[in-house]
Symmetry: C2
Subunit: 398 residues, 2 copies
């Protein structure tokens, strides 16, 4: 009786989708990815009728492809070999260094997610699988047995934009009960991202929980707003319904995010127990969010003592006229005259924004404006932004 009941439970649940084809005693009871003790990884895919199965992911050397704008790097692909019962397999020849990796399978050229791995992330309109190799930095991106902060999805009303908007708020462990006031990091996403990006792709919650538990970072609140002023919320979380997202949004780097940003600070300072002073406020962002952080911090030079530009999209656009972008050098002069405690610039050597960042640094150098510069390998990728967050956060509010 008991076995039958459990079976029927499983059937009722798994039977929801295509039970007959991915049955409980069928081909999908395989482990993929399997991370071996030596950190080599085996990927498996059940596809008895396939002619070619590949795995593509950022753990493989990248390859060059032709694009309308020249050659570009994309993740490499490795062939799986067909074994018994239609299960294809590939094991990495070398152990993988500790990291959070992503991958997909290519079955006769068709990109699919791994049906044996429920852990998926979305970037704009792509969904892919993830896995973590333990060690450093993988452990920093993992949930550990430490005190955990609270993650809230909350809505605020924007008078300037005329609608309610969603943001993600991380409050550190103990916030709810200890009565203390906390400093705040405003953490901004890039183009195509939203208020979910730093939590999902960026592992910001795990990074903060772990750094705080290790005593390497001050307990702080992290506010992750939606930087697309034409969005109420992330795709699927707004009144637009379940639409297909694109990179193309009407207003992204044209001044509105920057001019309406004080509303977000006002909301946070009214609704959370925070320290309301420059030395307890930080702003950082990746790509478009780095561009926003640069312009917001200089537009409100008394607001932030800590500024982080992660692979910042420092791209003056002459088509855009916004007072926020006018008189860059004059505003920077004011900002640096007020001596922010940390102006941190980080970028990867192969980032397509490297040159734009180099020119910006040359301008800062010419004016003797102090900043800290961090250069890593790699390009315009989340792997770098997780590293930058992990290195930036310990420097805050000290």
């Amino acid at each position: 009786m008991k076995r039958k009941v459990i079976f029927l439970f499983m059937l009722a649940l798994t039977g929801l989708v295509a039970y007959a084809q991915q049955s409980l005693w069928g081909g999908q009871n395989i482990v993929s990815p399997e991370i071996h003790p030596d950190n080599t990884v085996t990927f498996r895919f059940y596809a008895p009728k396939a002619v070619k199965v590949q795995v593509s992911g950022d753990f493989l050397p990248s390859q060059k492809v032709d694009t309308p704008f020249g050659k570009a790097d994309v993740p490499g692909a490795a062939d799986l070999k067909e074994g018994k019962d239609g299960v294809w397999e590939y094991t990495t020849p070398e152990p993988l260094p500790s990291e959070l990796y992503n991958y997909s399978f290519l079955v006769d050229g068709l990109k699919v997610t791994d049906p044996n791995n429920i852990y998926v992330s979305r970037d704009v309109a792509s969904v892919f699988n993830i896995f973590i190799i333990k060690g450093n930095p993988g452990d920093l991106y993992s949930v550990n047995k430490v005190a955990h902060g609270t993650v809230s999805k909350r809505w605020y009303h924007s008078d300037a934009l005329g609608y309610d908007r969603r943001l993600t708020v991380y409050t550190p462990a103990g916030y709810e009960t200890n009565g203390k006031r906390y400093p705040v990091l405003y953490l901004l996403h890039g183009m195509g991202g939203d208020e979910e990006a730093w939590v999902t792709l960026g592992r910001a919650v795990q990074i903060l929980d772990n750094l705080i538990a290790q005593g390497k970072a001050k307990p702080m609140i992290v506010v992750m707003p939606n930087g697309n002023v034409d969005q109420e919320a992330a795709p699927g979380e707004s009144s637009l319904g379940l639409y297909k997202p694109t990179m193309q949004l009407p207003r992204t780097m044209e001044g509105t995010m920057e001019t309406t940003f004080p509303e977000i600070i006002k909301f946070v300072e009214k609704n959370y127990r925070v320290e309301k002073k420059k030395s307890a406020r930080a702003i950082a962002g990746l790509s478009m969010g780095g561009f926003h952080s640069m312009h917001i911090s200089k537009a409100y030079p008394d607001m932030f003592d800590y500024i982080g530009l992660f692979s910042a999209a420092i791209l003056p656009n002459k088509e855009v006229e916004s007072p926020i972008y006018a008189d860059l050098e004059g505003k920077l002069k004011t900002q640096f005259a007020k001596a922010p405690k940390l102006y941190w610039i980080a970028i990867g050597k192969t980032d397509f924004l490297y040159k734009a960042n180099q020119e910006y640094r040359e301008m800062l150098d010419k004016n003797h404006y102090p900043y800290v510069y961090r250069e890593t390998d790699g390009g315009h990728i989340w792997r770098n932004w997780r590293i930058y967050l992990s290195e930036f956060v310990p420097q805050l509010f000290q």
Copy 2:
């Protein structure tokens, strides 16, 4: 320049995974599912090398399959037809009634998610796509332009279990600022579920936001704990890392969830502005969570005035010895002598637990214990549990 920059942005983002194969100008720029104005739906899948492509989902008539325990219902499948450029297509012959549906594709027998639909849900170890047809009840499961509550993922310490555990808390719009005290619904998941299930598969946040905005439900806090006492948190959110989940957990329906439940109430009543009285507490759950709700509510007969058993797994297990399950009739006598305001039982006609619920109701009838009974079509499925939540919540705290 600008076009190139946007292109490079897109490349940097989408290029993370298998750019070359699902390129920006390739075959994946198709719309799927496409919901037409008359509510017929077209599914599209790019697979130039496939021999057979099907869509399987709960919008199709179910089909019988053989299992080791006899015939069982599983979702049906429909054939797509190959069109030009390798894009396969299927359009439903009839408009679909308003509902939240799920589906997957079957490509030469291989179950895959739709690469053109980023909206996925997970049930135990299966990931599948979802879409919503507007109307009733689809609009109730959708984000609308109404005041939104806050959803928090928070951790509490269980002294009884010896570790920190995660729960989901919905606080209604206005909670943070209006100083009022609120009633609380404790909402429990089924076997294989966790503290995420009612939010993802159950659309509880949308249902609550919408019913409260329409004036059909009292503003209330909804607490969604993890009912698997051996789990800190949902898969991927605990220190176990990114493992493959199964239905099989050591302790599920053996008394520990019920005996440790007062810890959760204590945590909530200490940490949230709630009304601390029987008439302001409700408990409800689906399947295993209905079983938990039944036993918790009778174990603590002064605690809950509102009890909801949704497709409850009323399955006495003679192998389990827990004081919580002893003397069922005596405890029910005490519970009903204290006259709870609502004892609500709901189940689908074809649920495999129908008979167990019928026997339970006969026992209640025999003892003249009042309850409200709701019978729907269908079986042990989320479609029913969303309906039950939508009907239960308006009856609470009136």
